[in-house]
Each structure stands twice: as C-alpha cells, then as structure tokens.
C-alpha cells in the first residue's frame, strides 16, 4: 500500500513574478523573476538543483515546447529538465514532478516552475488549442467561459435556482476576490468592484458576465523542493511541507453518458477525497485554514466549495452569500485575489496558489495576512467541467 508523499517533501524557496499584462517581459524574464526570488529565498547555490520541471500549457501561443525554453532561460546545464502540460493543472503538474523526484530520492533538490505568456497573442482570452484529429471534426469550438457556463445551467437546473439567484452568489464570489486582490501587490487586477457593476456587466457566455471571468495575464511562479531532512541540514526552520498532491482526469463519462447532472465536477470530488486521504484529513471543514481554488469563472469557485466537501450540495450559494469564504469568513478563499485578480497565466497558476499558502504560513502575506494559517488547499481545474483534469494540493506547516 503506497504511503503517499505526506511530509516527505519540503518547500524551501518560492518565487512569483508580478502577474499582469507584462508588455515589458518575455517568458524568459518572467521565469527569471520567479526563479531569482525562489533561489534567494531558499538560500542555496543554483548548482544544487538536481532536476527541473517546466509547466507551460499553450506552447503554440507563447513559451515553446520541450525543456529548452526553461533550460535556456535559466541556463541550466547538464541536468534533467522536463516540460509538463495538463491544461490548467499544468503548474501543479510541475510541482508534482519535482516533489516525486525528491520523495523518490532521485535528486536532493528539484525545481518546479510554471510560466505562461498570454499577452503575446494579440487579443484577450485564451487561444483555441486543437483537441486531436477526431475531436476536431465534431466537437464544437466553444470558448472557455461557454464550457464552464454549462456548469451554471446544470447547477441551476438541479437545485432549482433562478438565474438571478445564481448570478447574485456568483457576483459575491467575484466581489470578494476583487476585495482580496486589491491587497496583493503582485495581482493583475488591484481594485475592488461594486456588486452592482458585477451584476450589470456584459454577458460573455450566458449566464457569465465579464466579472464572472478571471483575468488573462502573463506570469511565472516557482518552487524549490527538497526533503525535510536536507532542509533541516540547511538550517531551515518552520518547514512548509507537501501533505498531498492528487489529480483526477476525465474518462469521458461526464460528457458521454448520463452519469453527470451538470451540477458538480466529479474530478474535483475524486481528487479532493484522494488528497484528504493522503494528507490524513478527516474533517476538511475544520482542519483546512485557507483555500486557493480554480476560480477561472465565478461559478467554478462556487461549485468547487461543494465538490471539496466544504459546503453541502446545493448550499454553496447560501454559504457564499453568508461570507463563509470571505477573507474574514470561516475558511478564507483566494486571499491573494485568486485567478480572478491575479489573472491566469495557465502554467503558473497552480504554483502561484501554493506560493500564497507559503507566504501565509511564513507570515509574509502583508496586508492580507491570516491570523492562524496552518493547512492550505489549492485546486486546479483544467479543460472543462465535463471533460478535464482536476488537481488538489495540500500544503502546511510541518
């Protein structure tokens, strides 16, 4: 029986570039910005890095495929470098690769870095990737918001919410994240937005309006990992360790059979329950102190609260409106502004979420510092709710 990786890997350094419309920087500069902060934080010579993982999701649009963009940007010579891609879970995949290498004893120190340079495409929103030669011949090419809007229609239908009731709760999700993001100097969007403005915003994909959608940004985030033993030898204290890294990918049942009612994301549910098991969490509602979830769209965050078992099915709307996930609520969510305000440089987002937990644990979160951070969950959702991948990571103080 596999024992999982709980507390086998410590994060000794993290970095995150400023997210946003980085007209000034290419992907190389973004990676260097995140890496420089991380390597300085870790206080190690870069020569100690034994292997590196690069996460970038949309190679046709920005970074380029293979390991070369990373090994060239940081001039890493003679070590194994691997590029990983798993849609919006790409950043978490990079961390998973690095963590597994350390946990396996393959290397002492590993680097995980995620980057995306979306603002070189010439328009807002994500480029349209192809889906394979067969799927390209029949699947409708819809936008990401239209894919996630399916969740809104399925959720409203199952629980009997009117469009206005759902819109109100979705607006609260975005309102809260904008408020949080205004206190994050690295966020892309740093201003609060009135509820009324959110509700009146133009529709992008029914029922999602502009403020229900996350920003599209450039950015990079980075983690340097090792074993707790080596970290202590380096003189590190207050160790932040990985408690769980889990992932679930669709086999096609949600989009190809009647087994999905559109009101939830089964991948999130499966990844979460595996992660709780790996981390030894029995009651996530009491044990988790903070959340960074994949709020690509407001409806996604709302439904994710139920999929993570933090709100009862159908109760997400009420819990959100009650402020349960606000910065001063029972389980603060998106204290850094989330994808909503940081924006979503796809390959970087999973690592950016872990970065926020890391800052909170070490008391470095500035104006948005939580009083008692101990155990943080981050969550990515790649693809679409009915056909995608979900990653759940749990990190905490050792």
């Amino acid at each position: 029986m596999a024992s999982g990786i709980k507390d086998k890997v410590a994060i000794i350094g993290m970095g995150c570039s400023r997210f946003g419309e980085r007209w000034d920087a290419g992907s190389e500069q973004l990676m260097l910005e995140a890496f420089s902060e991380a390597v300085q934080d870790a206080g190690i010579e870069r020569s100690r890095i034994g292997a590196a993982w690069l996460g970038s999701a949309l190679d046709s649009a920005n970074v380029g495929n293979s390991a070369i963009p990373l090994s060239t940007a940081l001039r890493l010579q003679g070590i194994p470098v691997t590029r990983v891609e798993n849609m919006c879970a790409t950043g978490t995949e990079a961390l998973r690769g690095a963590a597994y290498a350390v946990a396996a004893g393959a290397v002492d120190v590993a680097l995980a870095i995620g980057v995306e340079k979306l603002k070189d495409t010439g328009f807002g929103g994500l480029p349209v990737p192809t889906k394979g030669t067969l799927n390209d011949l029949w699947i409708p090419y819809c936008s990401a918001p239209a894919g996630f809007a399916q969740l809104a229609s399925g959720y409203a239908a199952r629980f009997g919410f009117s469009r206005d009731e759902l819109k109100q709760a979705m607006a609260h999700v975005s309102w809260k994240s904008h408020k949080n993001g205004s206190a994050n100097p690295k966020a892309h969007l740093r201003r609060s937005v009135e509820m009324d403005a959110i509700l009146r915003a133009p529709i992008i994909a029914e029922p999602l309006g502009v403020f229900d959608c996350c920003g599209v940004s450039d950015g990079a985030a980075c983690a340097i990992v090792t074993t707790p033993e080596i970290a202590r030898e380096m003189g590190k204290r207050d160790l932040v360790t990985i408690k769980a890294l889990q992932l679930s990918a669709s086999s096609g049942r949600e989009s190809g059979t009647s087994q999905w009612d559109g009101s939830c994301v089964p991948n999130t549910q499966m990844a979460a329950s595996a992660a709780y098991r790996e981390a030894g969490i029995r009651d996530p509602r009491r044990e988790l102190t903070q959340l960074e979830v994949h709020d690509c769209f407001s409806i996604t965050e709302l439904v994710t609260m139920e999929d993570l078992g933090l709100s009862d099915p159908g109760r997400g709307v009420a819990d959100v409106l009650d402020g349960r996930y606000d910065a001063d609520g029972a389980i603060p969510c998106q204290t850094d502004g989330g994808l909503k305000c940081c924006g979503h440089p796809v390959g970087a987002s999973g690592l950016r979420m872990v970065y926020e937990h890391y800052l909170q644990f070490l008391g470095r979160a500035g104006d948005r510092q939580l009083p008692h951070p101990r155990l943080g969950l981050s969550h990515n959702l790649g693809g679409v709710p009915y056909n995608g991948v979900a990653a759940v990571s749990i990190v905490g103080l050792l």
Binding site: L137, W138, Y141, S143, I203, A205, R253, S255, G256, T257
Partner: protein
C-alpha cells in the same frame, strides 16, 4: 392512361426550405439609395441559407424528410442523384456525401447532376425512365448566389426537394409517371463560368417571348401528346426556370386555364434553381386530388416536360412543401444575408484566425460516425456512446461496438450556454451537452435557437450542417447539429 396494377412513379417526396427568410422589401430598401427600381420586385419574401447550410446539407435534410415517410424502404435504394448548380465541390461527388449522411449502403450508386437549373427535372426524368426493380432517390438542391443589387438577388431563393422513384401499386405511388418530352437548343438565357460566383442574365423580354413561348410551349404540348393526355385534362401546370409570368403565357397558348397554374413560390421561397421544378411537383401533390394530371416543365437550354397523374395514396400526399415553407424565421437584416452568403467579409477579430486542417485520414476512418452520426452500442454492457472509441465509456470493455445511428433518436438538452466570446459566424454560438434517451451524450452546437434561448430539458432533433469551412484549403466539412424540436428539417 389505363390503370395498371403497378407503375413507375414517385413513392415519397420530401422538401427542405432554409428557415431564414427575408422580405424583398428589406433588400430593396437597402439598395434604394442607388437602385430605386428594385422596389418593383419588392413583394413577398425569399429563403436564404444560414452560414452552415449549402446544397449538400439542404439535400440531406430534404432526403431525410422524404425517407421519413412511413415506407421503411430505405434498404433497396440503388441510386442517389444530387442535382444542383451550386453544389460546393467541383471534384468530389457531392451526392456521395449525401448518401453517407443518409447511411445508405456503400453499394448505392451516387451521382451529381448539374449544368443547368433544368438538372433537377432532368435527373428525375432519367430516374423515372430507368427505374425497373429498384428505387432511386433524386435530390435537387440549390442555394443560389446573386450579386448584391441585382434582380437575381431579389428573385433567387434556396431550397431542396427529394423524390423517391420506384415501381409501386396505385396506392403506393404519390404520383404515377405518364411520359415526357424534351428539347435541347443553345438558347443561353444566363450563364456562369466554372469558379465564378454570379449568373449573368440576358434581357427578360427576349427570354420570355423568344425562349419560353417558342420552346417550352411546344415541348409541353409534345409531352402531353406522348402521354396521351389532352391539354384540357391537365389539372396542374408548373413551369420553372423562366421569368415571372411565363407560366401564364404558356398556359394560355396551351389552352390551360390560369387557375390550373401551380403557384410559382416567388412570394415565399424564391426561384430555387434546380430544385424548383421538384418543388412545383410537391406543390401539385398538395393542391391536387387523386387522378389529377400534372405537367411540370423546366426551361433552360431548351425545355424538359414531364407528365404525372396523382396517385390514390394519401400517406404520400402529406404537406411536405407547405410544412417546410411554414417553418420560417424572418430576418430583417440584409447584412446578415450578405454575411451568411459570403458577400460581405466582416472583421470577426483574431479569434477567427484559427484554422483547423481536417485530417482526411481521420475523416475516412470515422466517416460513418461523422457523416452518418452513427455511435456505438457496447456489446458487453449495452451503453450507447459517441464517438466510438476502442474502449467502452461505461465498462471499459474492448469488445466491438455495434453501430447505433443517433440522427433520428430522441434527445434533450442537458446543459447549455450562449457563447458570445468564441468566433462564430452567427453569434451567439449555442453549445451544450445533448442527452439521448438511448444513453449517449454528445457536446453539440445547437442551431435555430429562438431569441429567448433554449432551456435545460428542452427536446431537440438533429440536422446535417456545415461544421466548418477551411478558408485556406477551401474545404467544407460537415457534422450534425441539434435543433429545437419540433424538427426544423
């Protein structure tokens, strides 16, 4: 004609008219600043194709309408002909795509017929003359382009008709074939070179007085003589391919009363080219009664005239044409018609720059699935699924799946959104998961959605449409889309 126990004729007929209609007055109004004379043609409305409809898709829909009649005679169709002057492919048999979309056997002979708006009636005549033991499906379909500001922009239309030709008893035949006559002369009233977009027409008075009057009249007369029918026994006369009013001229010359002229469909559909004579025949089925004699003529480089007698069967006499004409949605936007027809290139932004090259290898491997909308049923657990992959979606069995056609299966909307962000030639793009009663679920485009949208749980049916047009390689590819039920076939 003496009554026979069996004869050759048309067993079933199906019609498709694109849902979109525009008032001719709206077209005339748009041009009034430069071409005020067009107002004289500004009566009634015309049909026009959506961006994802063409001669192939309309032909498929008309054929489905034809074969949906309670005959169950799909299996012994030996030939499929698609007659059109606007078929999308020059070297790729358009009828072959139609046959595959109809899930006909690989042994069915498919053939395109073209060269003249007369091609539809010509193809019908050929099928009737050669129908011995098997059934032949004749489809005529045209989506006629016209230069903005031209008279043809006002008068042209779009539609498709399908006729199942075969032998049958009087009860089995919608119409019995009586005879024909044709002449071929180089009377060039209009032309269009290969690869050109628009027809060029000669003066209407010359066409009517020198052409129709002198060529169509004797041809029709000869067809009646060969069929042993005197003109006074003709209950219905239809003439296509000729200027407005020509039918009255011909009827008068033949001694056929004006009240026996079939409506020319100008007020509702427009001139539908190769399809038009078949539309007129469908119209006769609705106007007429059992025993009526009908003569249908198509003018073009001479004339083709066919004589029929309406059969005794009422099953085949359903209101195919009026049902198709009644399924309409009025568009008040002339610019929309131009955009859908490719006459106006809007700036759709960078999202429209994506070009997906269809892998012909993959398209061939999956042709039954893609063109016929055929899913699979797992032989181990019974789950119906689309697409068919080597491993069952429900039980992971790798056993062979049996083909399971989905195009006529009942289904409902499971989830839906209206996408205003994605590039789509007719925004918004309605997209959602469609749940089949049989168990399969497919993410699909939903078209013909009314202004108020479509809700979860709404029943849908399916239409064969253009999936995408590759602007770089000039290639149209097709798939099925959901349409709100009742069907808008």
């Amino acid at each position: 004609m003496s009554s026979q126990s069996t004869g050759i004729g048309i067993r079933s007929c199906g019609i498709f008219v694109p849902r979109l209609r525009i008032a001719r007055a709206a077209i005339a109004e748009a041009h009034a600043w430069a071409l005020p004379g067009l107002k004289g043609l500004g009566k009634g409305e015309r049909a026009f194709c959506n961006w994802d409809e063409d001669a192939i898709t309309m032909g498929v829909q008309a054929a489905r309408d034809c074969l949906a009649a309670p005959l169950g005679l799909h299996s012994d169709i030996s030939d499929v002909v698609l007659a059109s002057t606007t078929a999308p492919f020059a070297d790729l048999q358009n009828a072959s795509i139609v046959a595959r979309a109809l899930r006909l056997n690989d042994s069915v002979t498919s053939q395109d017929a073209t060269g003249s708006t007369r091609a539809g009636l010509r193809a019908l005549a050929s099928a009737l003359e050669s129908a011995v033991g098997q059934q032949k499906l004749v489809i005529a379909s045209d989506c006629r382009r016209a230069k903005p500001g031209s008279a043809q922009e006002m008068t042209h239309g779009a539609a498709a008709a399908a006729m199942l030709v075969g032998r049958g008893s009087e009860e089995e035949l919608a119409v019995r074939y009586c005879g024909r006559h044709s002449i071929d002369v180089p009377f060039i009233d209009h032309f269009r070179e290969s690869g050109e977009k628009y027809d060029y027409y000669w003066e209407e008075r010359w066409i009517r007085d020198e052409g129709v009057h002198r060529l169509a009249t004797p041809t029709i007369k000869a067809s009646l003589e060969k069929s042993g029918i005197s003109a006074d026994r003709v209950a219905w006369l239809g003439l296509s391919g000729a200027p407005a009013g020509s039918d009255k001229l011909v009827a008068k010359a033949l001694g056929i009363g004006a009240e026996r002229i079939l409506p020319d469909l100008q007020g509702s559909v427009g001139d539908t080219g190769a399809a038009h004579s078949l539309l007129l025949l469908a119209s006769a089925l609705e106007c007429g009664k059992s025993g009526d004699f009908v003569v249908i003529a198509a003018f073009g480089l001479g004339c083709e005239a066919l004589v029929f007698q309406i059969g005794g069967s009422s099953a085949q006499r359903r209101k195919a044409l009026s049902t198709a004409v009644a399924r309409r949605e009025e568009s008040t936007s002339y610019l929309k018609m131009l955009s859908f027809g490719g006459e106006l290139q809007l700036d759709w932004g960078p999202r429209s720059e994506v070009s997906i090259k269809a892998a012909l290898t993959q398209q061939y491997r999956s042709s039954q699935q893609l063109l016929g909308f055929v899913g699979g049923r797992c032989t181990a657990c019974g789950q119906v699924q689309f697409p068919v992959l080597p491993t069952c979606i429900a039980c992971a069995s790798t056993a062979q799946q049996t083909p399971y056609p989905l195009a006529d299966e009942p289904a409902r909307i499971a989830t839906v959104s209206a996408d205003w962000l994605q590039y789509y030639p007719a925004p918004p793009l309605y997209v959602g998961l469609v749940q089949f009663d049989a168990g399969a679920r497919v993410l699909m485009e939903i078209v013909n959605v009314p202004a108020g949208g479509i809700q979860v749980g709404a029943p849908v049916e399916f239409a064969f449409r253009l999936k995408a047009h590759d602007e770089i390689r000039h290639y149209s590819r097709y798939f099925w889309k959901a349409v709100p039920a009742p069907a808008v076939l």
